[in-house]
């Protein structure tokens, strides 16, 4: 496929995106507008993440793509194939071996290192969007650090439900300045966001890029008397027995029997290979 440039985008576009990425890293959590291109996959399917990955990739990189934590979900397969075709980079399912990881909705369970870049696909980058639909207004609110509306929303959750009723895309404050949407990851993943790897966020349709540099403070919004709680299903993985990983619930039969399995397929596989086994581990093998 020589008709297209390395990683599909032309060099000028990549330079434009890299500038936005650098600006994002310089102002953690700030949404940098960028001239998002039309990609050969639909908006809303990872075009922002794909553009950021395309600008970040070099021929020596090893790429991993996950969706819902899994390497084998159809859209992850499709994006991985896209880069295999257009960039010819090596791909892997092993978190440790990847230098660039593009993800939708999850952070891998294995701790990431300084040599890695985590690229998030972002549908709606604006954490205030569902409180104020107008971009002209929300930009002002960020500029003035006027985040009262968000706290009122969280407070209203507590008064109505007795708890903050946000389970994913749980808003965070970055380095004490910008309130940021961590993308629709489950709040279980929020505490992992203070990490050694570079985190880049791409929203193609909304034309925004933002970033969290390594070791940056990322704090979920909460109240002293209602502190943030990272939740997950109260089970261990039925395949590998892990008690510390985020779990998917799978309905097994008409009787409503369920099993719980790691959403991070690579984490689960590596644990099973190391000899760990869960409740149904024997049957699955």
């Amino acid at each position: 496929m020589n008709d297209y440039n390395f990683a599909y985008l032309d060099e000028q576009t990549k330079r434009m995106i890299r500038r936005a990425i650098l600006k994002g890293l310089a102002v953690p959590g700030y949404q940098v507008p960028f001239a998002s291109r039309e990609m050969p996959m639909p908006y809303g399917w990872g075009t922002g993440g794909v553009q950021v990955s395309a600008a970040a990739l070099t021929p020596d990189d090893t790429l991993k793509v996950i969706d819902q934590g899994a390497d084998d979900t159809t859209n992850a397969v499709s994006i991985r194939k896209f880069f295999e075709k257009t960039a010819g980079v090596e791909t892997t399912e092993e978190t440790e071996k990847a230098s660039v990881i593009q993800t939708r909705h999850r952070i891998p369970e294995a701790e990431l290192t300084e040599d890695q870049i985590l690229v998030y696909q972002v549908p709606i980058p604006e954490p205030l969007r569902f409180l104020e639909p107008r971009e002209t207004e929300t930009r002002k609110m960020h500029a003035l650090q006027e985040y009262g509306l968000m706290h009122v929303k969280l407070y209203e959750d507590i008064s109505q439900h007795g708890a903050i009723a946000t389970a994913y895309a749980y808003p965070v404050k970055v380095e004490g300045r910008y309130v940021m949407d961590p993308s629709p990851i489950p709040k279980f993943d929020n505490p992992k966001m203070e990490m050694a790897a570079i985190q880049l966020f791409g929203a193609g349709r909304e034309q925004r890029i933002y970033a969290v540099p390594p070791y940056t403070q990322v704090v979920p919004l909460d109240f002293e008397d209602y502190p943030f709680e990272a939740g997950k299903a109260d089970h261990a993985c039925d395949l590998c027995g892990a008690e510390d990983s985020y779990l998917d619930e799978v309905i097994l039969d008409d009787a409503g029997n369920r099993m719980f399995v790691c959403s991070d397929t690579d984490y689960c596989r590596s644990r099973r290979e190391a000899g760990h086994s869960g409740r149904l581990g024997e049957e699955a093998a």
């Binding site: 001239a35 039309e38 969706d67 159809t74 397969v77 999850r106 439900h161 997950k232 959403s263």
Partner: protein, 366 residues
């Protein structure tokens, strides 16, 4: 027993193969040629070119064939192709006053220089199914006259001579380009017009219709609607002057809208403008109406809170490729997020049940 769903790759390949087969349909029926689509489905081709922002009837025909006639999918194919094309430079602005018109009508004057030319329009056809078309056969040639050689002047030009319609400020400024710079609000009129001309025909139509029904009504007269070809010129640096590199078919609509004035400025008609690739009459009229509605602030009108007046609302939602992508992405897996909400709702319900029990126990004790 649960088996991790492997083989996503094979499923995708098989789905594509099946899709190709469905696209072709019954192989006993002759395959469509691109020329057939280009010539016989030309209005579909025009729409794909307009919303795909690429004037190339053959590629548009290919996109329609590949997309099985799903025009938004075809527009998407064109957009994704267009974005990979290098830019050699920019053409001169086209002079629509020099258009070789196939059609040119004015609703504001009974007659005017250049005349009223109906052209190939559906307007006065009775919408009766023509069963003769079901049988194949040639159509008799339409009567033809000598084409006009003189340019057809713009109707609004006559109004402008009288100073009774607003004058467009002349500017050599390079207009913005929303395919190269991120959209920012407020957007200037050139960017708004770019967004409208490549916006979804149905959306622009609905917005325009809403202004006619009273949501920021401003009655529009179709001052002029013209369809035809204009030459495209480009300055070649090596030559130092502009040469004609081809021609494009355009539909242009200029509306004459109600007037404004003040103590110092006597009343004057205002304008709405629509310009679309190909024969795209409905779209260009709708575009002109929405353009006019969006100009409320510049013209000193009230914000009535109507959707068509709301620049951010209109421009953020006009693009059908953005809209359809985001709408359809909800069919992608979301089970991680759903799981987190499942846990949350179960927890909230558990707590509510416990609270109810405690209250009931307390009541019983009293």
């Amino acid at each position: 027993m649960y088996v991790a769903v492997k083989g996503g790759e094979r499923a995708i390949e098989n789905a594509h193969a099946w899709l190709a087969e469905e696209r072709r349909g019954d192989t006993d029926v002759a395959e469509l040629s691109l020329a057939q689509i280009r010539e016989q489905l030309s209005l579909a081709v025009n729409r794909v070119m307009a919303e795909g922002s690429l004037f190339d009837p053959d590629l548009a025909a290919l996109a329609i064939k590949q997309s099985r006639g799903d025009l938004i999918e075809a527009i998407f194919l064109i957009r994704a192709y267009r974005t990979t094309l290098p830019r050699f430079g920019y053409t001169q602005p086209v002079e629509t006053g020099a258009m070789a018109c196939d059609r040119r009508i004015s609703a504001t004057f009974k007659d005017a220089p250049g005349g009223q030319v109906l052209g190939p329009t559906f307007d006065y056809t009775h919408r009766l199914l023509d069963f003769k078309l079901a049988a194949e056969g040639e159509v008799p040639a339409a009567p033809a006259a000598e084409p006009r050689q003189d340019p057809t002047p713009h109707i609004t030009g006559f109004l402008q001579d009288e100073d009774i319609i607003e004058r467009e400020p002349v500017s050599d400024a390079v207009p913005g380009d929303l395919t190269r710079e991120p959209m920012a609000f407020p957007a200037d009129r050139a960017v708004r017009l770019q967004s409208l001309t490549r916006g979804d025909e149905g959306f622009i139509l609905g917005m325009a219709y809403s202004t006619q029904r009273g949501y920021a009504r401003n009655h529009a007269f179709v001052g002029e609607l013209r369809i035809g070809s204009v030459p495209v010129e480009m300055e070649i640096p090596e030559l130092g002057f502009a040469i004609e590199i081809g021609e494009v078919e355009l539909t242009e609509c200029e509306t004459v809208n109600q007037f404004k004035g003040s103590k110092t400025v006597p009343p004057q008609f205002t304008r709405g403008y629509g310009l679309v690739f190909g024969q795209s009459e409905r779209k260009s009229i709708a575009m002109a109406l929405v353009d006019r509605a969006l100009r409320w602030e510049e013209l000193g009108e009230d914000n009535l809170g109507a959707p068509a007046q709301d620049e951010e609302f209109v421009l953020s939602h006009a693009d059908n490729i953005q809209a359809t992508g985001f709408l359809e992405h909800i069919k992608l897996p979301h089970y991680v997020d759903f799981q987190s909400e499942l846990e949350l709702v179960r927890k909230l319900r558990r707590e509510a049940a416990e609270l109810a029990e405690t209250l009931a126990a307390r009541e019983a004790a009293e």
